[in-house]
Each structure stands twice: as structure tokens, then as C-alpha cells.
């Protein structure tokens, strides 16, 4: 065991992590953004990115109809081209889980996971009991993945043990039924030092994935934030031999953005992370841009939005 579970051992471990220099981290991320991905590697990256998409709808106005449409899109992103892979998962609020799971199964999308945001998403401001119920409810409804939020208030006020314990409790509920993605909400943690600490805290508490953001707070999945999280999973692997996944979410809208994310993965955590089981991109609009770029590569002509389905 790296830590014994006590707050003091956790604090000691996190305080010994090397600091992150903001300017240096941002410079590295922007250097990697200059990578020029062309032709065959671009085609590979687009398909990989599609298979990594957590196709997301998290609106108050979400309805069964909207979610079902999303399911169709997730399974066959481009109905005119069946070589396009399905997305990794669809990501919904917990009352939509059952609808989504059933729909996916019925249209041949049983491989597409259903991820439920839980623990009083997005703010996380609820009692532990409510968070537990929220999670259990989603699992019972058939969620394959739980996207929980950490208690940022507790983290920022130094109650690291509390944050750790909550993740641990939710992880226990997930058991072997659901993967646990832990949302750090990096836009509220503000510093890269905090992002690194929260990443380790989540991994130590049992996260299968660490996820940048809810999508409700800006800035969200900026390149340097993802860089710091990828460094964390890479170093955690060196330390423990376990590979933890990373999910940037929020603000990734274009193929260019997505490819930049894959370059970050490739040159930070390494090529082992370039698969949907270890890297996901939480997005909604991104998928259609990926499809349009795919068409452009295939046909040589610039595509029009009229030829991709809106959902």
C-alpha cells in the first residue's frame, strides 16, 4: 500500500509529489499542438477518436426521444458508411440510463457502454447518502460506467480524507458492475498542482478513469490540464503497475482538437493509452466534425453538415 488510508498519510504522499510549473507545462502542451498529423495517420486518428467518444447529453431538457436518437447515432455514427466505428459510450443523467441501455441493446449497440453522471452532478453538493443513492440507482438501471464528481469544496479546504473516502465508497458500490470515472472539475481546482494532487487522490481511492470536467465549468479540458493528468497516470503506472484511464471532457469540438488530444496521449502517457478502455473524450458536437473530416479524407472534397445526421 502506498498510503494507509488515513488523511495524514494521504496528505504526506500528495505533498511529496513534484510541483508543476505552469509556464513549462503550457509550453510543452502547445509544442505538442504543433504536431502535423496527415494522411494515413489522420485517418487512423479520426477512427480512434470516434471510438473514444463518450457521446454526451446532459441537459435539463433531455427526454427519452433525445436519448434514443443519441443511441442510434452512437451505434452507427454515419448510417451511409458502416466502416465508421461505434462510439465508446453514451453519457447521460441517471434517469436516462435505463432508456439508453434498453435502446442500445435493441439496436445492436450492446458493446456501447452507458455512462451515468452521478453523486449530485455537476456540483456534488449533496449529502453522502444522496450521492450513494444516486450511484446505486444508476447501477441498478444498468449503467456500465459511473462518472462521479469529487467534492471540490472539501478538496480546496484541505479535507482530502473526506474526498478520498467518498470516492472509495462510490467505488465499493460500483464493485465489478461499473467502471468508475472520477471527475476532478479542474476548472475549479485552478492550479496544475491541484490537478496533479487530485489525480493521484482519485487513483489512490480506486478510480478506473480520471476525468477533467463536468462540461458545466470553464475552462474544461485544456491541453495542459490533460497533459498533467496523463503524466499522473503514466507515473502511477510506474509506481503501481496499474494503468488508469483519462477522459477529457468539455471544449473538445473539432477534429483538430481531438487529434491534439491523441498526440498528447501518444507522447505523454504513451501509445498503450491509445484505446477506448484507457482514453475517452467526453463530447457532443465533436462526433459530427470527426465524421465530416472522415468524409473529406475519403472523398477528397470538403464536406457539408447537411450530409451528417444532427443526432
Amino acid at each position: 500500500m502506498i498510503i494507509d488510508g488515513s488523511e495524514s498519510s494521504l496528505k504526506k504522499f500528495l505533498s511529496e509529489l513534484p510541483p508543476v510549473d505552469q509556464v513549462g507545462a503550457e509550453a510543452r502542451a502547445s509544442m505538442l499542438a504543433t504536431r502535423s498529423i496527415k494522411t494515413t495517420s489522420k485517418a487512423w486518428a479520426i477512427d480512434m477518436a470516434i471510438s473514444m467518444v463518450d457521446l454526451t447529453t446532459l441537459e435539463g431538457a433531455d427526454s427519452a426521444g433525445k436519448v434514443k436518437a443519441l443511441c442510434a447515432k452512437a451505434v452507427r455514427p454515419d448510417p451511409t458508411d458502416l466502416t465508421v466505428p461505434s462510439v465508446g459510450a453514451i453519457c447521460v443523467y441517471n434517469d436516462m440510463v435505463k432508456i439508453a441501455r434498453t435502446e442500445l441493446n435493441s439496436i445492436g449497440g450492446s458493446e456501447v457502454a452507458v455512462a451515468a453522471v452521478a453523486t449530485a452532478f455537476p456540483s456534488g453538493r449533496a449529502s453522502l447518502n444522496v450521492k450513494k443513492l444516486d450511484t446505486q440507482d444508476a447501477i441498478d438501471a444498468g449503467a456500465n460506467e459511473i462518472d462521479m464528481v469529487i467534492d471540490r469544496g472539501a478538496f480546496l479546504s484541505g479535507h482530502l480524507g473526506e474526498v478520498f473516502d467518498q470516492i472509495k465508497i462510490i467505488k465499493e458500490l460500483c464493485g465489478n458492475k461499473a467502471h468508475l470515472k472520477v471527475i476532478l472539475e479542474t476548472g475549479e481546482l485552478v492550479t496544475y498542482d491541484n490537478v496533479r494532487k487530485a489525480s493521484y487522490l482519485a487513483m489512490l481511492a480506486g478510480a478506473d478513469f480520471i476525468k477533467t470536467s463536468t462540461g458545466k465549468v470553464a475552462p474544461a479540458a485544456t491541453a495542459p490540464v490533460v497533459l498533467v493528468m496523463l503524466e499522473a497516470v503514466r507515473d502511477y503506472f510506474t509506481l503501481t503497475g496499474t494503468r488508469i484511464g483519462v477522459k477529457p471532457a468539455g471544449g473538445i469540438r473539432t477534429t483538430k482538437d481531438a487529434i491534439k488530444q491523441l498526440v498528447l496521449v501518444n507522447e505523454t502517457a504513451g501509445p498503450e493509452w491509445l484505446k477506448p478502455s484507457l482514453f475517452r473524450i467526453g463530447a457532443s458536437a465533436l462526433l459530427n466534425d470527426l465524421l465530416m473530416q472522415r468524409m473529406k479524407l475519403r472523398t477528397g472534397h470538403y464536406a457539408s453538415a447537411n450530409y451528417v445526421t444532427m443526432d
Binding site: P18, P19, V20, D21, V23, G24, A25, A27, R28, T34, R35, S36, I37, K38, T39, T40, S41, K42, A43, W44, A45, M48, E231, L262, N266, E267, P271, L274
Partner: protein, 484 residues
């Protein structure tokens, strides 16, 4: 394709209009060398001929100096300072407009990755002209007295590692201060200087204010020894710098010398390790290590040295070596056969003296001049690879136990150009910065350059500064100095 291998992404050569031959740029025109001699300049990544350039000898130098003198007395010194500045602004703008072309030619002639010429060399060169343009009519605020005067004709000799950028470092302040120049680019990288001559023409710069003479060391010596030169500005090896100092010892010529280095890059235990790794890589592998201020001696505090070396090796395996024109290349070609030989020669002493060599697996192209990114661990101060400037992608790794020992090792060198500090503790950084005997200290960063920031070395790394207010002073006469 089953993994994420980057397909080649070559920059197009089409934008570069390289003529099959170039004359010397004297008096605002391209002229043939008086003796009609020329030499080849090649692409070091492919060994292909790029162009033939004129070889300037003593007679050509004399013509160039005369042209510069005449331009100085008749035109440039009479021009209102404000107008002088406008010419520099024009040059800055034209460089920005033609940036892509300059980047391509620089990479073809030098071998450096297009990413670096595109993102560093050319934008910084333009920035130098822009910065100094603003000084032209503000010289009385430069801290060298109320009525600062130019020196006259300046002879400038630049190296092959940053051809256009070094040209900008030299020409921009010289012209801003009101001098005229005769500049000799390096033998292996003359092309962007000749392209720059065209920029001077496009800018309408008065004839003779900038003269560009191509040639070798003998050409450079002729320039240094020309009796009508008021100042020499040289960037290059310490050996040649000393020779210049001797050559001018019995003259009234002044000199600015930017010479060699063997910079220590010091990683303390509390450093931001991931950013330090980037800084180490940038410190020694930027521009193939052809950088006088390269962080070629890595000093790591012993209690973090295993972690740092392990992470460094992993990071080094990601360095993409190969075609400099590929936008994804990190490490390009070694500039010349001679330089490659020198890198081999000094690095081989590392093996012979018992240091441990390591390079990541990387395929080097069959043609051209290449050296893999290399580190030596287990190096001690007495090893030649810890003392001599290699000027290549070769890093010597040493360790230290206490901060004081780190500083002592860092300063144990005849050079004093630059140094790096990696620590998260403010007080320690300022302490170390104060102790280090070097002209440029990069704390938690490395190899950063800016026209507003003075650059230059202590000890045998040179005389004077370039850049900023301090660099400008080197091109202005001082009434506090006397000559007997």
C-alpha cells in the same frame, strides 16, 4: 496502420527560390567576387547542392568596407534618426511577410527542423529588427550619455547555428545606433543572409549600409584586419574569439565577442520534474545542440538523479530524428561533415574515459550528417565531455549532493555564458542565480531568447552583451573611454 505513427508531413520547398549562384552584396548590388571564385553550399540533410556563392577575398572586403564607409559618412549618419528607424521597421515587416520562405531556406541550408526555423529563428529575427527600430530615435535614453554617437563601420562575423537570427542580432542594433556594416555569414550557411540582402533592396535601404560578403575564415580574418573597421562583432568559438582579440590588440577597434559555453543545467531535489525534463531536452537537443548556451552539463541533485535520468531517457525516446523539412521533426541534421567529426571525436573520449553512453533507438537517414540524441551518465568534472564544448546533441550528466556543491561544479569552467536552475523554492533560485558565474541564468526555463533581453557571457564566453539596452551600448561611442 495499427498504431499512431505520424505520417511524414513535409513543408513544401516550392516557396524557396534559391538561385543557382549568388554574388557578394556590396553597395546595394550583387557583384561578382573580384577573383571570380565561388564555393558550394549544400543541404546537410541530403548532401545535395543548394547553390554556389561568391568567395570574398581581401579585395572584395576592401570594396565592401569602402562601400560601408561611404554610406556611413555620406548617407546613414546624416539621416534623421527617426528615418533610420523606419528602415528597420520596414525590414522587420518584410521579414514577417517572407517568414515562411526564410524558414524553408534556413532549414535547407542549416539542417535544423522546420518547426524551429518557423517558430523560433525567423520570428525572433523579425522581432530583433522591430525592437531595435524603436531605439533608433531614442538613443539618448540608452544610458550612454546625452549625445551618443555611432562607431562607424562595423565588421560582423556570424556562426552557422542560427544564421538569420545571428544576422539580426548583429545588424539590427548596429543600424539602429547609426553604424553601417559589413557582415560575413558562416561558410556553410550563407543563403538566408543573401536573401536578407534582397530584403534590404526591397526596403529601399540606402546602398552600402548593409554589405554581405560570403567566404570562410580567411575572409573573416581579412574583415577583422581591415584598417578602416571601427568595431568587430563576432559570434563563434572561443578560440577564434581570442584570435580576434589578439588581432585587434594594437588597434583602436573595439569588439563584442559572443563565444563558447558549457552551461550547467542544475536540477534541485524540489524541482518541477516534468518541466525540468522538458527544459533539459530543450537545453541540449534544441537546434541539435548547436547552441553556444546549450545546457550541455546536467547537474542533478543525487537524491532525485535516478528518477530524473529514467524520465529523461523515456522522454528522449520520443525525440523524432530525421528529415528537417518534416514538421514533426524534433532533431535535424548536423550542420556539416566537419562538425559531425568533431562531435564524434569529443564524444568518443567520453567512452574512453569511462562514462556511460546512452541513446534511444532511432534510425538515422543514410545520406546527410546525423548524430543521435545522446547522454553520458557517470561523468566527472575531469572528463573532457564535461569541460569541452561539443556543440552537438550530447549531454553529460553529473550529480551533486548539496546546493553549494552544485554551484561549485557549475562554476568550475572557463566558460560562463549561461546556466539553468530548476527548483520550486524562490529563495533558493535567487541564491543560485546570484552564485552562478554566467551571463544568462534561466530559472525553471531554458534557451529562451528575446530582443529585449541582454545576452552574453562571463569569463572566456566573451565580451559585452547583445540585445536589450546593454547590447545597444556596444554600438555606441562612449566618452568615458580613452585611447592613448
Amino acid at each position: 496502420m495499427s498504431s499512431f505513427e505520424y505520417a511524414s508531413a513535409p513543408e513544401s520547398k516550392a516557396i524557396a527560390n534559391i538561385a543557382s549562384s549568388y554574388g557578394l552584396f556590396i553597395g546595394g548590388k550583387f557583384v561578382e567576387p573580384k577573383k571570380g571564385k565561388s564555393f558550394n553550399t549544400i543541404n546537410p540533410a541530403t548532401e545535395e547542392l543548394l547553390s554556389k556563392v561568391g568567395y570574398a577575398d581581401k579585395l572584395d572586403i576592401d570594396a565592401a568596407v569602402k562601400s560601408a564607409r561611404s554610406a556611413f559618412t555620406k548617407v546613414w549618419s546624416k539621416l534623421p534618426a527617426k528615418e533610420r528607424g523606419k528602415y528597420l521597421y520596414r525590414i522587420a515587416r518584410i521579414l514577417q511577410e517572407r517568414a515562411r520562405e526564410f524558414a524553408v531556406v534556413e532549414t535547407l541550408d542549416n539542417g535544423k527542423p522546420i518547426r524551429e526555423s518557423r517558430d523560433t529563428d525567423i520570428p525572433l529575427a523579425a522581432a530583433h529588427f522591430f525592437y531595435h527600430a524603436g531605439w533608433a530615435d531614442k538613443l539618448e535614453y540608452a544610458g550612454v550619455g546625452n549625445k551618443p554617437k555611432p562607431l562607424g563601420v562595423v565588421g560582423q562575423i556570424i556562426p552557422w547555428n542560427f544564421p538569420l537570427l545571428m544576422l539580426a542580432w548583429k545588424i539590427a542594433p548596429a543600424l539602429a545606433a547609426g553604424n553601417t556594416v559589413v557582415l560575413k555569414p558562416a561558410e556553410t550557411t550563407p543563403l538566408t543572409a543573401l536573401l536578407f540582402a534582397q530584403v534590404c533592396q526591397q526596403a529601399g535601404l540606402p546602398d552600402g549600409v548593409v554589405n554581405i560578403v560570403t567566404g570562410d575564415g580567411i575572409t573573416g580574418a581579412a574583415l577583422v584586419n581591415h584598417p578602416d573597421i571601427n568595431k568587430i562583432a563576432f559570434t563563434g568559438s572561443t578560440e577564434v574569439g581570442k584570435a580576434i582579440a589578439r588581432s585587434i590588440s594594437a588597434t583602436k577597434k573595439s569588439a563584442t565577442l559572443e563565444l563558447g559555453g558549457k552551461a550547467a543545467n542544475i536540477v534541485f531535489e524540489d524541482a518541477a520534474i516534468d518541466e525540468a525534463i522538458e527544459g533539459i531536452v530543450n537545453g541540449i537537443f534544441f537546434n541539435q545542440g548547436h547552441v553556444c548556451c546549450a545546457g550541455s552539463r546536467l547537474l542533478i541533485q543525487e537524491n532525485v538523479s535516478d528518477e530524473v535520468i529514467e524520465k529523461l531517457k523515456k522522454r528522449m525516446s520520443l525525440i523524432r530524428v530525421g528529415d528537417p523539412m518534416d514538421k514533426n521533426t524534433d532533431l535535424g541534421a548536423i550542420n556539416s561533415k566537419e562538425q559531425l567529426k568533431r562531435i564524434h571525436e569529443i564524444s568518443n573520449t567520453g567512452d574512453a574515459e569511462g562514462a556511460n553512453r546512452w541513446s534511444p533507438e532511432c534510425k538515422l537517414p543514410a545520406k546527410g550528417y546525423w548524430y543521435p540524441p545522446t547522454i553520458f551518465t557517470g561523468v566527472s568534472q575531469s572528463h573532457r565531455i564535461a569541460r569541452d564544448e561539443i556543440f552537438g546533441p550530447v549531454l553529460s550528466v553529473l550529480t551533486f549532493r548539496t546546493p553549494a556543491e552544485g554551484i561549485e561544479k557549475a562554476n568550475n569552467s572557463m566558460y560562463g555564458l549561461s546556466a539553468g536552475i530548476w527548483s520550486d523554492k524562490g529563495a533558493k533560485i535567487l541564491w543560485a542565480a546570484k552564485q552562478l558565474k554566467a551571463g544568462v541564468i534561466w530559472a525553471n526555463t531554458f534557451n529562451k531568447f528575446d530582443p529585449a533581453s541582454p545576452f552574453g557571457g562571463y569569463k572566456e564566453s566573451g565580451w559585452g552583451r547583445e540585445g536589450g539596452r546593454h547590447g545597444l551600448a556596444g554600438y555606441l561611442a562612449s566618452d568615458a573611454k580613452a585611447s592613448k
